[in-house]
């Protein structure tokens, strides 16, 4: 019942209890992960053996390798970063082009194109992965048969991972940038042009500054979604594993607290990113949200 209507005591109590239980449900898994990053035991399980920073800093001398000395973890972190930077850059470029295309131009087939642009969001990530995998290996085969070319980037590996993630993150970038461009008052551009500004100057001094919040928000979300992507990546990955794939592999073997340490690091990083973004966007518009993976 809404706040302005009389609410009996039991209803108030029930509401408070429900919200409390909900928050516990939301945060208990995360808190557990964080706490066991500091447990002085070789396995992330109770009981509590005392506080240690080994899982962050140990260098292998005591038989423990912490996050900052674990070559596999560090290299997968680097791989994820590289992939995410590429995906973000591509998504921003294509997303901006799409936004201008859909908001500023009319052409035959526009309606169909706008529906097609949304489809990547309704295709399960696993299927995006296998379809791109099968096309690229077909093309690689053809290139080999016809011309004797060895197109290595079409074999499972990081370039394919970038393409796979980009294939649906581009849709999200398009939606986010279009939404902002739609609200832009185009008479501002016309006024500048009338006053003698060149097209490039208008873009640089008027349109781009207006779009900047959307571009920043969009980069953050693209980066995060790429960094966290699992389904599509799993199908396209070669020998260099990004972080999520590496963690998944280790979790299946039985987790070590190093994973908790990595997770805590990720939580802090994404919480920082989220809070900066929320603070920025609460001035401009509504809070942003990560979308489907």
């Amino acid at each position: 019942m809404i706040a302005s209507l009389p609410r009996p005591l039991w209803l108030r109590a029930a509401t408070a209890l429900y919200v409390g239980a909900f928050l516990i449900f939301l945060f208990v898994p995360l808190v557990t992960v964080a706490v066991f990053a500091f447990n002085d035991a070789n396995y992330p399980a109770p009981p509590w053996h005392g506080f240690t920073l080994d899982w962050f800093v140990a260098d292998g001398t005591k038989g423990r390798v912490g996050l900052f000395h674990d070559a596999e973890v560090l290299s997968s972190l680097w791989t994820s970063l590289v992939v995410a930077v590429w995906v973000t850059a591509l998504s921003l470029l294509v997303g901006s082009a799409n936004a201008f295309l859909m908001e500023r131009y009319r052409f035959p087939g526009k309606q169909a194109l706008s529906v097609l642009m949304l489809t990547p969001l309704v295709i399960p990530g696993v299927i995006l992965g296998i379809s791109i995998l099968s096309l690229s290996s077909r093309v690689a085969e053809l290139a080999d048969d016809l011309f004797g070319w060895d197109l290595d980037f079409l074999r499972p590996g990081l370039p394919l991972v970038v393409f796979g993630q980009f294939s649906y993150i581009a849709t999200i970038a398009t939606l986010m940038i279009s939404a902002r461009l739609k609200r832009f008052d185009q008479t501002l551009e016309e006024a500048a042009l009338n006053l003698g500004a060149s097209h490039a100057a208008v873009l640089r001094t008027i349109t781009f500054p207006y779009l900047r919040p959307a571009l920043i928000g969009c980069s953050a979300i693209s980066f995060l979604m790429s960094f966290e992507n699992f389904n599509t990546t799993l199908m396209l990955v070669g020998s260099d594993s990004p972080l999520t794939i590496m963690m998944y592999g280790r979790m299946r073997e039985g987790a070590s607290p190093v994973l908790n340490a990595v997770s805590l690091f990720l939580m802090l990083a994404s919480a920082g990113l989220a809070l900066t973004l929320l603070r920025g966007s609460s001035r401009a518009s509504r809070p942003s949200q990560p979308a489907a993976t």
Binding site: M1, T15, P29, S131, Q289
Partner: protein, 290 residues
């Protein structure tokens, strides 16, 4: 004048190029290739023949279609459960809590979903496995003699799936409940309607677009999920995406895997279509909303 038209044409072409390149090379052509793969059969090394054998195998082999049906049912259950869990929270955020508390609660609901699904699954693993936190707690409280194994049950998979999906339900629900005019609820109350009648006659009809959008997105994500069922369900998970993975990556039987992929895509599309038809909405609007 003429040169301006040409300039505009040139810009249009330049802007169309990336969109077409993206959609053709990463969406349309890959799915065509997948369709071709699924519709052929290997009769000798490097010799293929068009056939429906892959789809026939799916129906002939009970394991395959049973896993398919199971995945669909659990996904429906997870979607319904997510709606039940998320609705009261969305209601509290939009209608009960005061402005500051409401904004805070909304942000707090979003934060866990900025963390990778892998991390969240790790949390559930540490909580639930036999040597984990919750079984130890149960023993300590005297509720169990030996630590019970809480992983690898359907209920565990369901919990994990609901947990992962909550955000995608809360956000569209909040968006649609926000626009519900409080005076409608007050008027109904003054006219003597009970809580249940208000919910059924006013709130749900108004929130229907948000409910549909949330359910569609959650269902699709659940159906296509791999990580959560696989880690929380172990060998008992029997999730359809695992079959696709094993055909493609483990057994290298791409033809069969492609057919499975299309079956999953078909199911997902069918449910989305039914959801849209039932609620009388357009795809484009729903996707924009969610």
């Amino acid at each position: 004048m003429n040169s301006r038209i040409w300039q505009r044409r040139l810009m249009l072409t330049l802007l169309l190029a990336p969109a077409l390149l993206w959609l053709l090379s990463l969406i349309v052509l890959p799915h065509l290739q997948l369709a071709i793969l699924s519709l052929r059969e290997r009769i000798a090394p490097h010799v293929y023949e068009p056939s429906l054998a892959q789809y026939r195998t799916f129906f002939a082999e009970p394991l395959y279609w049973q896993v398919f049906v199971r995945t669909a049912f659990i996904s429906v259950a997870a979607t319904a459960l997510t709606l039940l869990v998320a609705f009261p929270i969305a209601w509290v955020i939009t209608k009960v809590a005061r402005a500051r508390a409401s904004a805070l609660l909304f942000v707090v609901c979003l934060i866990p979903f900025w963390v990778s699904e892998t991390v969240r699954a790790l949390g559930w693993l540490i909580l639930l496995r036999q040597t984990g936190v919750l079984p130890a707690l149960l023993v300590k409280l005297g509720l169990a003699a030996v630590p019970p194994e809480l992983l690898y049950h359907d209920a565990t998979i369901l919990t994990g799936l609901v947990y992962t999906s909550l955000l995608f339900m809360v956000v569209p629900l909040v968006n649609s409940l926000e626009s519900l005019d409080n005076s409608l609820v007050e008027a109904a109350y003054d006219l003597g309607a009970g809580g249940w009648a208000i919910l059924r006659k006013i709130v749900i009809p108004h929130a229907a677009p948000g409910i549909t959008a949330g359910c569609i997105v959650v269902f699709m994500l659940t159906l296509g999920n791999y990580l959560t069922p696989n880690l929380l369900g172990g060998k008992n998970s029997q999730w359809f995406t695992e079959l696709i993975y094993s055909q493609f990556i483990v057994r290298f039987n791409w033809e069969q895997g492609a057919a499975f992929g299309f079956l999953l895509l078909g199911l997902s599309t069918a449910i989305v279509a039914v959801g849209l038809r039932l609620s009388g909405q357009r795809f484009v609007d729903v996707m924009r909303r969610s």
